[in-house]
């Protein structure tokens, strides 16, 4: 049994990481349910299994740091402090949603929390993140910008264009590649030549680190190191986190046709939430009872969000032509 004095992070920080990871997991499970029941339109791209990556990275950030997210963005938004009630309402297309029902499942944003938007275009947020890093450097307050993207976006030209500029201009930008092994339905190594993104980053003169993306403490420590270097003005860096999504590409895909049961069993053994719970209990921060209490509390909050969002109104149709222009 370890004790928390030897823990690599502050107990309160670990508790907060745990809470956010659990919120993501339960949120995604609730969305699965909501989707199956036909309570939301569109598609649902879930990230259960990947929780440690956004949480580890975002816990290394300040409130005024910005992030851009992806089509699989719920986790990034919760990790950066996004609230589940307006998220749930947005997913259902309700006027009480973060974007008044105009963004939807793939485009949640809370600019006041530095969440500059999830993006339906794979890699599409890389320009926005780089632009935010440009402004941050101008402001000179040590703010950084994080771009989350998947292994699929690594092969979009925008990465090369912005990475080159970010290195040349020493922008405070962290490229976080959340490699969940599959680009939609295809194994990433069948789509990406060479050794992967860290090698490519290094070729541009940018430092890069690869970590176990299911280990929230490892992600946090790596992110912290890169974020602090960026704050000091050392320029951009790349962080690759290896992880897995438990579900399919979206809820309609069981995710079993292109992945084996053995492979998924191996990943389940490395589950980020179970590992965090073990760490909390073994270091004496939480009792098993505390774990139970936290789980029920978060579960209840999300169920309430579902109930509330279901009752919330849709936007009035007159809003359809609002917000086209400022």
């Amino acid at each position: 049994m370890s004790d928390f004095k030897t823990l690599p992070v502050e107990p309160n920080l670990l508790i907060e990481m745990y809470r956010r990871m659990l919120t993501i997991r339960f949120f995604e499970e609730a969305i699965f349910d909501v989707y199956r029941k036909g309570w939301m339109p569109g598609l649902a791209h879930l990230s259960d299994g990947q929780e440690a990556t956004p949480v580890g990275v975002c816990m290394a950030l300040r409130p005024d740091d910005t992030i851009t997210s992806t089509h699989r963005g719920h986790g990034h938004i919760i990790a950066k402090g996004g609230q589940v009630e307006p998220m749930m309402a947005e997913v259902m297309g309700k006027v009480t949603g973060y974007c008044r029902g105009k963004g939807g499942e793939m485009h949640i944003a809370d600019v006041s929390l530095g969440i500059l938007g999830a993006n339906g275009i794979v890699g599409g947020g890389l320009g926005i993140a780089t632009g935010s890093a440009f402004t941050a450097k101008r402001e000179g307050k040590g703010r950084v910008s994080v771009a989350f993207f998947g292994d699929g976006a690594v092969n979009q030209g925008l990465w090369y264009e912005t990475a080159n500029i970010a290195v040349l201009w020493k922008l405070p930008l962290i490229y976080v590649c959340e490699n969940n092994q599959y680009t939609e339905f295809t194994y990433w190594k069948n789509l990406t030549a060479g050794e992967g993104l860290v090698a490519r980053a290094q070729a541009m003169g940018m430092p890069g680190i690869e970590v176990d993306g299911n280990d929230v403490v490892a992600v946090y420590q790596a992110a912290r190191q890169l974020v602090e270097a960026a704050r000091r003005g050392e320029g951009p860096a790349t962080l690759v986190c290896h992880t897995i999504r438990y579900g399919g590409h979206h809820v309609g895909d069981p995710g079993t046709a292109y992945r084996t049961k053995e492979e998924m069993d191996e990943w389940r053994k490395k589950d980020s939430i179970q590992r965090c719970e073990r760490l909390l209990v073994e270091s004496g921060i939480f009792s098993p009872q505390d774990i139970e209490t936290t789980r029920s509390e978060i579960e209840a909050r999300i169920q309430n969000a579902v109930q509330k969002a279901r009752q919330d109104p849709f936007p009035p149709v007159e809003e359809v032509s609002e917000h086209v222009y400022a």
Binding site: K102, A109, G117, G124, G131, F134, E161, I165, H323
Partner: protein, 330 residues
Amino acid sequence: MRELTFAQAIREALDEELARDEKIVLFGEDIGAWGGVFRTTEGLYEKYGPERVIDTPLSEEGYVGMAVGIAMTGMHPVPEIMFGDFITLAMDQIVNQAAKMRYMTGGQVAVPITIRATMGGGRSSGAQHSQSWHAWFAHVPGLKVVVPSTPYDAKGLLKTALRDPNPVLFFEDKVMYHKIKGPVPEEEYLIPFGVADIKREGSDVTIVALSRMVHTALAAAEQLAQEGISAEVIDPRTLTPLDEETLIQSVCKTGGAVIVDEGYQRFGVTAELAAVIAKGAFDYLDAPIERVAAMDVPIPFSPPLEFATIPDEERIIQAVHRVLEGRRPQ
């Protein structure tokens, strides 16, 4: 009043706005120490420094994409597309990011970006350096599109663009830069978007023309006057927003319309303007609306071929004759 070239008017607008608002930052290829390949940013680098007038790598998607993030975080970026043809490389960032961010966030952000792009053929630059793509952007909700024709308009409209909280596409015909001169007052002025300008008054037919085609239309009107035909020339100046009222009123007065644009005819600006006029002035039209636009072919290199594709005075005059001949007997 003093006279400036089209390029000088643009440079002066940029200069005045850079001085007024420190949130404005210019981006582009060779726009810094070199002063831009068309010299539109000459002297600005020396005056405002490399922090405000920034040379970028050849990465149109990259720096236009950055502009979206820069605009969302409180500044006003001005990316330049050297030849408007290359805007294809930045299309996703303009159409899927810049144009939609405000809407998709339910009004949480404004995206003030002024994209300056050149347009136009007539220089034997070949099919990849001669196109006019303004119609594409007028098609996209969330964008504004400006197509100035004179130094006076260019300066006043560019200054408005640089104070607008939306993504604005500002198209500059490269043939006009150093060939077109015109009066520009010393005092500051702005020209609002969505207000067409009557470049010449007339009573027999309305010619609507954009950008450099305004000058071609004015020259055609001059010749028509010698035949005793009085043509009114209207310049919409901005496509989004569009001043429909002025177009319709003019056609109600003259009873005929010829629409001239250097963009392609098929599904282009002339089609939209014709539809606006047909709806708004239907009962006043004495003949079918005529369109004079670029031929629907890649712009050729060889001068006689290239000039055949671009509207000229002769084609406009013929179109006016068709309108007047097609006039129903009174």
